[in-house]
Amino acid sequence: MPTESQILSELLAGTSASPYVHPERIAPSTVYDLQYRMFVVAACLRVSGKVEGAFRKISANKLRLLQFVAMRPWLLDVVREWSASRKDRQRSLQSSQSLRRGFLSDGMHDNLIDYLVATGCLFKQKGQIAEPISSVILSDLFDASEKDGLFITETDAIRELDEIVITNDMLEGW
């Protein structure tokens, strides 16, 4: 299947224009990579998930926030401020402003969860996302990455987020 740039190049080649491609300018960001997103979900489950029976569970809304901020650690201060102002509705609305942009339109996370559910790596259970303890794909990915010292920033961000009070009211009040 031809890529967008190949299609564009072919179209331009038909004219008198000579296409010149800077691949680094059209390379997509890492946040759109499947493996990267899978690692972040695996890290959220490992750091913030709670083991209940044969599953490791996390609130779907919390996971959504954790993974979003883990990929953008510079937003940690915003979350901290938002948490501190959670009892003041007006301030809370203002302090979460810079977090809303992008977060509300993060459709890729939903697609990823659907994909992982379809593959049997995850299950949806009444507002919770559950990973079977026996499932190896996500846990192997996390263990191997941690062993090689990869994605330390993301893992640290999730650990820091775990220390911040995030209420259901905050997560559901969007």
Binding site: P23, E24, A27, S29, D33
Partner: protein
């Protein structure tokens, strides 16, 4: 050139006096004895008697390189006896007929080495030297100072990482002709001492032994030059930072950098005149400004003292008020600019931080992809068992190339942002300094206005106004004088740096004489590698064997160490060591003409390695070496017979142990000198 004539270890135990001696002759010889005989004890003796225990990573005068048998407890016939004292000695024969016997206690006062110089006519002169303390510096008591003189080795300076000077010591040369069993075979010059902080000591040692004193001198000059260049560059960087920041403090932002070579920088800076830059870029002539301020002060002073005052003139409060308003407006505008600029800096810093995070994520993802963890090659639906394509869920996995491209783009953005940030910070500093000046003027103007409005009558108002203006002008003169002083100081620092940079003499290059010595070493190395049967070297590619700038053996621009099989490593080290001695003889270098190889066969249990080594020993190249080679190893009876049949000198000491109890005699404090182990050749 010297020949090691003998090694002797002797001492006193509670069971009696003990000793062991191994005699040697010139040329190649193999000392074969069973394991645990005491071969390594004999080999260690050589380094110890030369005061070079630091090659074993030990502190000065630490005899722990020796086995416990000579330090603590020794067994004779299965019965342990405490060691009361022990010493060792080596005997060296110089090619001109002089002999030197070096004796050093192992258990006892091991900080001293006794040297018996035996002249050709048999006259003996005994001296006691300090083994380690100021060993090269002390002309009368330092052992290495004496030993270098006895050998005819010149003193050679090297450069340390701290910028100081250091001598080449015996322990720096020893790793090139003394390969010990434990560490010596791990790499070329693996016993080299690095803790003295000498730069490029491995290269210095090779050049020294090849007699390339001009090459070592050139290397010292190059290192000195590199150090000087580094220091000058650092000085230039600090100077630029100070000058640029200082001028920004006065509101002038100039383009001045410390990039480029010292010569380029000196040429560029020679043309710099800070006064001219201020004049052309900012229309600032401090000289003119000072003269005009002085004229103004003179006029104001005159109007305050002599000039008539117009009693009808009511403009003084208006003028003072107007100035306050004007300055307030300027201060407000600058505050706004500063606020905008600060906010830009903050935003850029956040953006830069986010870029760093994204870059780190992308680099980690690239590593993840290249390692291959978490790669989902085949995933199917757990119920219908059909392949699940991530694309169905609008998901995709990026290729390593795509991530690499993204990393490049992020790096480029980061560099751009970093440069912008520097520029923004400089702008902010300029605004701040301007704001400081305007605020100060504003405060003065406010005070002046207060004075003028407090004055009663037009005359007093005019006088108050003139006095305030006079004070302001005088403060301006002080400011301009201070700026001029700073600029002159910076200019003189720049000029001094240019003079220093122009005065640097650059490094000499090595003479062509050394090129031929290096060539001889490379040729000898190629021959020895072939003779040893190094699997990467054949008669077809012999000409491709070379030595790089660090004297690392290369084959067709690849390091020989990375070529061939694992067992080639010890063959490479043996060939390198012998080739250096061979080349030194050929080019009349400074190699002592002695090579000691301890247990070359134990480095690899591979039978082929053993065969190749024994085959090498039977070759003419090995048998006819023009220097002394002593190999300590353990050979099988068949191998000994085969080598002897091939004309190789194999020494098999009698008994199962190197150290044996001497026949009981009258108790004496002096250790016995006689009854060595008789070798059977």
């Amino acid at each position: 050139m010297i020949t090691l004539e003998s090694i002797k270890v002797f001492g006193k135990s509670t069971a009696g006096n003990f000793s062991g001696e191994l005699p040697f002759k010139s040329g190649l010889q193999v000392v074969s004895a069973d394991n645990a005989f005491g071969k390594s004890l004999s080999v260690t003796t050589v380094a110890w008697c030369l005061g070079a225990e630091t090659v074993f990573g030990l502190p000065d005068n630490d005899p722990s390189c020796f086995p416990l048998a000579v330090r603590d407890e020794i067994e004779f016939g299965g019965k342990p006896s405490a060691v009361v004292s022990s010493s060792c000695a080596i005997s060296l024969l110089h090619k001109d007929g002089r002999r030197l016997k070096l004796t050093r206690p192992i258990k006892g006062d091991c900080a001293k080495i006794t040297a018996d110089e035996i002249a050709k006519d048999g006259v003996v002169r005994t001296s006691v030297f300090s083994a380690r303390y100021r060993t090269m510096q002390d002309e009368t008591g330092g052992f290495q100072y004496f030993f270098f003189a006895w050998l005819g080795w010149p003193h050679q300076k090297t450069v340390t990482f701290k910028g100081g000077e250091s001598e080449i010591y015996a322990e720096n040369l020893l790793p090139l002709f003394y390969i010990d069993q434990d560490e010596g075979w791990t790499d070329i010059q693996s016993l080299q001492v690095s803790r003295y902080g000498q730069q490029q000591i491995g290269e210095f040692a090779v050049e020294y032994l090849l007699g390339g004193l001009d090459a070592t001198a050139a290397r010292v000059a190059q290192l000195r030059s590199a150090q000087m260049t580094g220091a000058l560059k650092e000085k230039a960087r600090i100077l630029v930072d100070r000058v640029v920041a200082g001028l920004i403090g006065h509101g002038w932002r100039i383009e001045m950098s410390s990039f480029g070579s010292i010569t380029e920088l000196a040429d560029r800076w020679q043309a710099i005149s800070l006064k001219d830059i201020l004049k052309s870029n900012f229309d600032v002539d401090l000289g003119k400004r000072l003269s005009s301020l002085r004229e103004r002060v003179e006029k104001l002073r005159q109007s305050l003292t002599d000039a008539p005052i117009d009693v009808e003139d009511v403009s003084a409060p208006v003028t003072a008020s107007q100035r306050v308003i004007e300055l307030k407006r300027r201060r407000h505008r600058l505050s706004e600019d500063a606020s905008t600029s600060r906010s830009q800096v903050e935003q850029t810093e956040v953006l830069l931080e986010s870029l760093e995070d994204r870059l780190s994520a992308a680099e980690d993802l690239f590593r993840l992809k290249t390692i291959g963890i978490g790669r989902i090659d085949h995933i199917e639906c757990p119920t219908c068992h059909r392949d699940l394509d991530p694309a169905t869920f609008a998901l995709s996995s990026q290729s390593s190339e795509s991530i690499e491209n993204h990393i490049e783009a992020l790096k480029r953005d980061r560099d751009l942002l970093s440069r912008n940030l520097v520029s923004m910070k400089a702008t902010l500093s300029t605004i701040h300094s301007e704001l400081e000046v305007v605020s100060s003027e504003f405060r003065e103007a406010e005070r002046a206005l207060l004075n003028v409005t407090s004055a009663v009558g037009t005359v007093r108002e005019a006088l108050a106004q003139t006095a305030a203006e006079l004070a302001s002008a005088e403060r301006s003169i002080d400011r301009v004088l201070e700026i001029s002083k700073n600029i002159e100081a910076w200019q003189s620092e720049i000029d001094a740096w240019v003079r220093e940079a122009k005065g640097v003499t650059f490094a000499m290059t090595a003479s062509s004489d050394f090129t031929s010595k290096k060539r001889a070493f490379a040729d000898a190395l190629a021959n020895y590698l072939l003779a040893f049967g190094h699997s990467a070297v054949s008669s077809d590619n012999l000409a491709a064997v070379s030595l790089n700038e660090q004297y690392t053996p290369m084959l067709n621009q690849k390091r020989l160490r990375s070529l061939g099989s694992a067992s080639d490593q010890s063959r490479l080290i043996a060939a390198y060591t012998l080739a250096l001695a061979q080349a030194s003889v050929q080019v009349d270098g400074l190699h002592p003409g002695l090579v000691i190889l301890d247990e070359p066969l134990q480095q690899n249990p591979d039978p082929t390695h053993r065969e190749r080594f024994l085959s090498f020993l039977s070759k003419e190249l090995a048998k006819k070496v023009p220097f002394q080679v002593v190999i300590f190893t353990s050979l099988r009876q068949g191998e000994i017979t085969q080598l002897r049949r091939g004309g190789v000198s194999v020494v098999t000491p009698e008994g199962t142990k190197f150290l044996t109890l001497e026949a009981r005699q009258e108790p004496s404090d002096v250790p016995a000198e006689d009854s060595p182990t008789t070798p059977q050749s």
